[in-house]
Structures are given as C-alpha cells and as structure tokens.
C-alpha cells in the first residue's frame, strides 16, 4: 500500500521481560478506522504503545507517513501527528478541563495548528464547555472520555490511537463514543482503535485485525470477520454474535 499513513512491519515488542508482540504487521490508510480485536492480554495495548513510542519494538519497523519512527521518543512521535487516547483516559487530575485541552498547544509541544482549536473542540463536545473550569478529576467517565478525545484533537493529529475508549462506559455513552469516532473519520482523522466491545468495533471499523498471543490471526473488512465463525469462536468468544 504505497499511500499508507501508518505501516507496521514485523514488529516484536517486549513488555518488561515478557515477549508480547511476536511479529505483527499492519497497514492503515489516511482517514480510515482500523480496529484491533482480541481477548485481554493478547497484546492490543502493547501495539498501541509501540506505535506511540512508549514501548518501542525491539525488532521490526514502524513507518508513519513514509518515515521510520525508530529511535524517536514519544514526544517527537506526538509532534509528528500521532495522538494517544490512552486506556483509562489518563486525564490530568490537577488540571482544569481547559488546561487539559490546552496542554498540547503549549509551546513545549510545538503545536502544529489546524482546524481544531479550543473553540471548535468545545463546539464538538458542548458538555466539556459547561465544565470548562472543573478539575479533570471531577468529571464522570463519559466526560473524561470526551476530554481525552478533545485533548488528542487539540494536537490536530493525522492519526489518533484509541485504547479501549468504551471501557467502563454505560451503553448510552458507548453509542456516543461510536458517534465521535465516525465524526472523526468524517473530519479526515485516521483512528487506530483497540477495543473489547465487539459490536462497537465492527460497526465503526473499515478494516479489522484479530490478535491472539501476540500475532494477527485474522485481517479483513468487518463483513469478512462476521463470516468467519471459527475466528469469532476461537479468538473472540462471540460465536453467533449479531453484527449490525
């Protein structure tokens, strides 16, 4: 894929002493949503952390917009245009909602500018506007998720890494997260999504990978995964699951 935004080539990543990703490759186009599915502990978060530079791979290579990320520290990767919405949101509790959102625009982060500003992010997430001066720690789970996405958008990234955005959210909020992701794609952002929520991932993704024990055991469009009962049963435990 010559026009790949992100290209992961045969990476092997260790988390501490454990050998987590054992030769994983994936390609993602500009403006697409790619979902990584798989059971807990299979290496989904490690894949996200490998791309973000937080747990760099020992072998293999990650190319972003054609340039290797090898040896680049996390802050440089973020400045290249990869934003992280981490598992558990990781909102800065000592900062107000406004300060959380403005953090990526600090001079230290070398802000790139673009369509997302404090105003446009608050228009996208009006609930955050109401709580703009609250401390980040005082928000509900759903609000924290919006703040985490808003914070990522403020960097005007090409690619957003989202690690379990629906985790711990009520069904109504999961729907909202789904809406957010679709709107991100409409705005031209690519999303690399790690998700336990099978239905959510299947409904938003353009392309799906299934990971088991550090390797991909399936890749294809969601419809192809829905038509692969053995993969669903063996690696996802959702045999017979209804796919929207």
């Amino acid at each position: 894929m010559p026009d790949a935004l992100l290209s992961v080539r045969g990476i092997h990543t260790y988390y501490g002493d454990s050998y987590v990703l054992q030769g994983v490759s994936l390609e993602q186009r500009e403006g697409s949503i790619v979902a990584i599915l798989g059971r807990n502990g299979m290496g989904k978060t490690t894949l996200i952390r490998s791309v973000a530079g937080l747990t760099p791979p020992r072998e293999g290579e990650i190319l972003f917009r054609g340039a290797s990320l090898r040896g680049r520290p996390p802050y440089a990767i973020a400045q290249d245009g990869i934003a992280l919405v981490p598992q558990g949101r990781r909102i800065f509790r000592s900062l107000s909602v406004r300060e959380n959102l403005l953090l990526p625009t600090s001079g230290l982060a070398r802000p790139r500018g673009g369509r997302w500003t404090l105003d446009s992010v608050l228009r996208e997430f009006p609930q955050l506007a109401e709580r703009i001066n609250h401390s980040g720690g005082a928000l509900s789970g759903g609000e924290q998720q919006m703040l985490a996405v808003g914070r990522a958008l403020m960097a005007n990234p090409h690619l957003i890494l989202m690690d379990e955005p629906s985790e711990g959210l009520a069904p109504r909020l999961v729907q909202q997260v789904e809406g957010i992701m679709k709107s991100l794609r409409e705005h031209g952002h690519a999303v690399l999504l790690v998700e336990q929520n099978f239905a959510l991932a299947m409904s938003v993704a353009d392309y799906v990978y299934v990971v088991a024990s550090g390797r991909f055991v399936f890749e294809g469009p969601p419809a192809a995964l829905a038509a692969a009962p053995d993969v669903l049963d063996q690696h996802l435990g959702v045999a017979g699951a209804k796919v929207n």
């Binding site: 937080l54 996390p74 802050y75 973020a78 990781r90 900062l95 300060e99 990526p104 600090s106 230290l108």
Partner: protein, 286 residues
Amino acid sequence: MTSAVLQAINGVSLAALLFLLASGFTLSFGLMRVVNMAHGAYYLFGGYIGLTLAEKTGSFAVAIVGGGAAVVVIGFLIDRFLIRRTGENHLAQVLLTVGVAFVIGDVALALWGGDNLKVQAPAFLRGAVVLPGEIYYPMYRFVLIFFGVFVGALLWLLYHRTQLGAVVRAGVDDREQVNATGINVDRLFVMVSGLASFLAGMAGVVGGAFLTLYPGAEWEILVYALVVVIVGGLGSLEGAMIGALIVGLLDAYGRWLLPEFSYFVLFGPIALLMLFRPRGLFGREH
C-alpha cells in the same frame, strides 16, 4: 506573652527561609521523582558564592542572584552527568547525591575555610524594627517573612496560573502521558530543576545573612527541608508552604519551651503525622 509572640515571629521567619529551600526541592521531586540529597549543599554553596559576591560588589541583590545562578550551573551539570545515570533507582540517587554533597562541602571548606561566616546584609536591613507592644525584632528576619511570602506568591502564580505551570502539574500527575502529548519532558525537567537550584542557592544567601555559613550547615538545613517536604507532601507547593510554617513554629517553640527536647518537639509530631498520613498533608498517591 511577649516571648510567645517573639517566638511566633521567629518561627514564621524561619518558615520563610525553609520554604525557599523546600519549594524547589518538592517541585523537582514531584516531577522527576529524584531524591536529591545535595540540596542542602546547594544551599551552602550558593550562600558562600553570595558571601563572596557581597564582599566584592557590596550589593546584596547581586549576591542573591549570583548565588542562585551559580547553583543553577552546578545543579545542571550534576543532573546531566551524574543523577541522570541513576534512572529510577532511588537508593542509588540517595547515595550518589549524598556523595556529591560531601564533595561540595569539602570544596567549600577548602575555599572558604571552617569559620562561621556571615553574608553582609544591606544597611537598611540591619538593626531592629519596633513592633506593636514594644517588641524589638531584627529588621532582617522581619523583612525575610515578606520576602518568603513574595516568592511564594510568585511561585504559586507560576504554578497555577501559567501554561508552563500547567505542564509541570500535568507532569507531576502523569509523566508518560505528558510525553505522549508531544511535550519533551526532559526539557521540562531541566527548567524545573534549574528553578529548584536557583531557589536553593538564593536561600543559602538569604539564610547565610542570619544563620551564618559553616561546614555542616548543609546537613542541618537539609534535615529541616526534608521534614518540610515530607510533612507537606512530595510535589505539593501548598504543602511546602504549610509544612514550612509547621516546622518553623515547632522549632521556635520547641527551642523556647523545651530546649533539651527541641528535636523531639520537631520530630515527634511528625512521626505521628507519618503514622496517619504517610503521604503528608497535601501528598497524593503516585
């Protein structure tokens, strides 16, 4: 009655000095998780540099800025070439920085000798101030209280009202996520560590004008600063303010009421506090 008031002023003025030293210490620990036991030596060294500058130039302001700046340079080199090698190993940091403190102390001994030396305060700060109730109090120590409040207010505004302060607070919360937000945390460390060094060096000059400078002063003041930081909670500016007040007042009243037990008056309550609030008054779980 007069003595009680006098001791209160003594305590608050010592608190102002302790805050100068401890504020930088607590912020740099909160952000970098580095235990720098050389902080007391930074204080002493800054004080000696200020002493020499005050003698040469006759200006106390030059002494304060110069003492602070000299420690910024030394602190930067020690950070970059020594402390950085210890990574997250706190035990190694403690051993290393205690060693560094001994080296700095010996160099200072060779350069300035072993006598008690006093930084010359400017003329308008010498003599006494007459407070209500006919209380005579040293002008210098009285003005020091306002200086401490002034620096505290500046630091508070920097920390809570500027974007740079927000970045530092975010770093205290979650360094990794700050890094993933595109901010070079290393560069942030250098800035905060520079500020902490400056405050320590400046505190040495300010303290040297009434507590005097002598070999061993670095350890005495370090113990106080450590207690302030631990009581207040590591990484909390407000904690350093309250902690400095508590330690300053306990020390002043302890020396006055129970001079034989003054160390116990200081450390006894703190041991109790640690029993019930091991993270200190404003400390948070990390």
